[in-house]
């Protein structure tokens, strides 16, 4: 086996404690040779002596008698090292530097399974996102951070809110899971975000493709699975503070995270606060249809916001049982662009330009409260996992009241209110009857109760109960060949509640008379849905090449608004009409993923082909209701294909180049919009990244400079009422380094970021504000500081 050179040096600081004449303490720290960051979870193994490094990279072994010892220092990602230590009364702090091993994968294949190796073995196309990735790529919202991954994009409104889109599909076709429980906000809405704190997340698994088998309804396009953080190491206490400042929207953010574990009990907490002003766009006026909105100081009027999040968890871990209970609350208040709310142009007496930090009408506020318990029990060959959750999502949208159609001017500003309670229970058993098979079986149940308020009507109140059962087997045919096969059945009951307007409308009857009635906009209905999902996949690892094939069938239950809505959405100038006859959406998808690792580079391609029997789509018709265009929920067959390409290479030691490209083709092959694409289709896009790793510059440790260059093609594939969007190129730069101010403490990590270097005026086809011709944010300089302790 070939190992890169291992460097080791001993520093001169004095060890502190000697607590008996013949018994000493060994103390040390293990660092990454490249970044000089502490490495957590390194095994320090000597004869009858054992320690594991904490997140600060430190370890200590007490009660050691005088003498010579050899320790094996090993970590799954690094080349192991043998270190000799002389234990005596004047012990020094041992500093070990480990080199990341390029060949460690071969070793891992024999000794155990890393997440990387497991990801290779599963036939499902997955992307693993680590804490390091999140930290070095962090943008204003979690989904904006993840949108650098090929195949992942966002539907966003404003500077801090966005929702996931996987391969062109979003809203209720992507499932977001946090700590094992499906995140239930108002996913169908396009003008708010995810309501998840993006700090304190360690691992995210992104599944691109049909994933209903494990995740149930809605996982048609994929899953963003925010995994529970790993249990802290025994007898450890650590934390971090993150500070963030941005120039474009004058953002100030602070986040504090702490975690502590005794022998068996552990707790964690995270507090985040962010406050930002209106964001700046690289234009002085917005031209929308025939309207011209002059902008003050390039500020996109009234897009300021603030966010306050808190979460706390307490856990217990022993040999066979680990249980953790999370309580979290995410609160956000954001203004919406004042000149046009939706498509509706508004004139107001409010002095929006008095301050760029105030949040005037229209705005929304949203609060998401969660309690989740994850418990895993191991016995014999079983691992039983219970996830129990309660979520409350409360969103209010406030607008200056005005009369619309037959609706008189309302008395207050509360236009919409949604209160959704979700109760979840998931039970999953992973059973390994022998070396060859891993069988996973489980049940997911969920009860939802959605309430509405305010003077505007968009979706009805409803109750929904779903239950699903699944089982799949991963069959290890040989070390490099894995087969996954599984099936699932879901059953759901949806009860929609009737809704009548609070005002009278004029109705001209056929006999020539006129009546004034409270129009009914939603009906009392109980609907049942049942569906089978299935998945069959194969993965094959041939030396440095990994192949994956997966065929899956996924589904989505129709939403209450798709079934039962019947009313005018004045902000969008349309009358939305539901259809009680909608069937569950069914999607069949073939995914392929091939990746190959050369000596200094890697390449990968992941194409897919996808067919929908009955894609649910809000179709703009040619007809009017009360002078509003009628949009009707219809179902159409849809054919899609596309995929991602990625390549990375190390040109010389310190320069790394990455290219990632994504492409989607979508066609409706039946229905009223036959031959059209789907709404919000992302354009062909390529992201080129260059990263240069410098040598240490005095106090600056491991400085590195990254340039991201995104080239996006025109999007001429549109469907009414969309507009085509021109292509663009935009450059972002970032500089990351750390400073060791104090010898003994962890270094201060610094990230300087310059987004949209040339202040380019460009439009994002999948931004909500694209509809009213608002360009993306202009140049932004941000500074992020992270101090771990």
């Amino acid at each position: 086996m070939f190992y890169k050179t291992v460097s080791l040096w001993l520093s001169i600081s004095l060890s502190s404690v000697v607590f008996a004449q013949h018994s000493f303490n060994i103390k040390g720290v293990v660092l990454d040779s490249k970044t000089l960051q502490p490495i957590e979870g390194v095994n320090i193994i000597g004869e009858n002596l054992f320690a594991v490094t904490a997140s600060t990279g430190t370890f200590s072994i007490s009660d050691v008698s005088k003498g010579n010892y050899n320790f094996k220092i090993s970590h799954i990602r690094y080349s192991p090292k043998i270190v000799s230590v002389v234990v005596s009364s004047d012990m020094e702090l041992i500093k070990v530097v480990l080199e990341e091993s390029t060949t460690s994968l071969n070793e891992i294949a024999v000794t155990g399974q890393t997440k990387k190796r497991l990801a290779k073995e599963t036939p499902i196309v997955t992307e693993l996102v680590s804490k390091e990735y999140l930290e070095t790529n962090r943008e204003n919202s979690l989904m904006q951070t993840l949108s650098k991954i090929p195949g992942v994009s966002t539907i966003k409104i404003g500077s801090g809110q966005s929702k996931p889109v996987i391969r062109g599909l979003g809203f209720n076709r992507v499932v977001v899971v946090q700590n094992g429980v499906k995140h239930e906000a108002q996913q169908w809405g396009n003008d708010h975000g995810l309501e998840i704190d993006q700090y304190g997340i360690e691992n995210i698994k992104i599944i691109k493709g049909a994933a209903s088998l494990v995740y149930g309804s809605d996982a048609i396009a994929g899953v963003v699975d925010i995994e529970p953080n790993k249990v802290p190491l025994a007898h450890s206490f650590n934390g971090e503070v993150n500070l963030l400042g941005e120039t474009n929207n004058d953002l100030l953010g602070i986040s504090l995270g702490l975690q502590k574990r005794n022998e068996k009990w552990f707790y964690r907490t995270r507090l985040t606060y962010r406050d930002y002003g209106d964001y700046k766009v690289p234009t002085e006026k917005i031209n929308y249809e025939n309207y011209i909105f002059e902008l003050h100081d390039n500020n996109l009027r009234n897009t300021a916001g603030r966010e306050a999040n808190a979460n706390f968890s307490i856990g217990y871990t022993s040999k066979n049982i680990t249980s953790e209970t999370f309580i979290s609350n995410v609160y956000a208040k954001n203004g919406f662009f004042a000149n046009a709310h939706g498509l509706e142009v508004r004139v107001s007496e409010i002095d929006y330009d008095a301050s760029n930090r105030d949040i005037d009408l229209p705005y929304h506020k949203v609060n998401h409260f969660k309690i989740i318990n994850n418990t895993s029990i191991e016995f014999n060959n079983h691992t039983l996992l219970f996830d129990v959750g309660y979520q409350n999502n409360h969103r209010e949208e406030h607008t200056e009241p005005t009369s619309h159609g037959y609706m008189p001017k309302p008395d207050d500003t509360k236009e919409r209110e949604f209160v959704k309670n979700t109760y979840s229970l998931n039970i999953k058993d992973t059973f390994k009857p022998n070396e060859k098979h891993t069988v996973v079986a489980g049940i997911n149940t969920e009860y939802q109760n959605n309430n509405i308020g305010g003077w505007g009507f968009l979706i009805p109140e409803y109750n929904r109960f779903t239950i699903g059962a699944f089982a799949f087997d991963t069959y290890k045919i040989n070390t490099d060949l894995h087969l996954l096969a599984g099936a699932r059945y879901d059953f759901g009951i949806l009860e929609t509640k009737s809704y009548n307007d609070w005002f009278q409308s004029t109705v001209n009857n056929e006999d020539g008379s006129t009546s004034y009635i409270y129009l009914q906009r939603a009906q009392n209905k109980t609907l049942n849905f049942g569906n089978i999902s299935a998945s069959l996949g194969l993965s094959y690892i041939q030396n440095n090449t990994t192949y994956k094939f997966n065929i899956g069938k996924s589904f989505r239950m129709p939403l209450a608004n798709e079934l039962a809505s019947d009313g005018v959405n004045y902000h969008m100038y349309r009358y939305e009409k539901g259809n009680l006859d909608l069937d569950p959406e069914q999607s069949y998808q073939l995914d392929i993923d091939v990746s190959h690792k050369f000596k200094n580079s890697s390449i990968g391609i992941s194409p897919f082909i996808n067919f929908f029997d009955n894609y649910i789509y809000l179709n703009p018709t040619s007809n009017y209701f009360q002078t509003q265009q009628i949009y009707e929920y219809t179902q159409a067959k849809v054919f899609r294909f596309g995929g991602e390409f990625r390549a990375s290479t190390t040109i010389f030691d310190n320069l790394q180049l990455n290219v990632a490209a994504e492409y989607i083709y979508a066609r409706q092959t039946s229905g009223p919009k036959k031959d059209f694409t789907l709404p919000f289709s992302p354009p062909f896009s390529t992201l080129i990244t260059a990263n240069y790793q410098f040598k240490d510059l005095g106090l600056l440790k491991a400085p590195s400079l990254t340039a991201d260059f995104r080239i996006t093609a025109d999007q001429n594939e549109i469907v009414p009422p969309e507009e085509t969007t021109e292509g663009y190129e935009v450059l972002n730069m970032s500089f990351i380094t750390s400073i060791s101010a104090l010898k003994k403490s962890a270094p201060l990590q610094i990230r300087l970021k310059l987004n949209n270097v040339f202040n380019t005026e460009y439009y994002d086809h999948t931004s909500f504000y694209r509809l009213i011709d608002v360009p993306e944010a202009g140049r932004n300089i941000s500074i992020a500081l992270t101090q771990t302790f």
Binding site: Y547, F625, T627
Partner: protein, 168 residues
Amino acid sequence: MLSDFITHTMKLTIKHFYFLAFLILVTSCSSDDDNTTDLDKPTILVNYDGGFPQACQELSKGETYSFSALVIDNLELASYSIDIHNNFDHHTHDDQEATCELDPIKDPINPFIFIENYAIEAGLTSYEINVSIDIPNDIDSGDYHCSYSVTDVTGWQRITSLDIKIID
């Protein structure tokens, strides 16, 4: 053995895989050409000799007016609507690039509301809207909006809005 069979099949499939990827790439480039979908919105013209009302026009109560506008589409027109509602709160200005002088803000008591939809006969690419509307005597005078909207058979829509005034 099953594993040998699968390994063998996999190797065969792998050979074809690059071909498949190439095929997809080619299809994706060529299929854009057969795009025959209608991507054009209809248009509305008010600012012509016969167009009524014009921006900032004053209409008298008790009178009957013929509301006229020209609508045009590349493929086929479908329906149109006329919406007259008050602008007593100055909630919007019109999009006809005219700045009309508005009365002070006030609360509506009995505002005029006109909300009607009409179908356009099949097969037309241009059509002149002509609708006779009575302005009642018992309504609030003041600033109003008159909106025309039109759709084509594809589902594209165009809306235009004019500031008008209803006087005693």
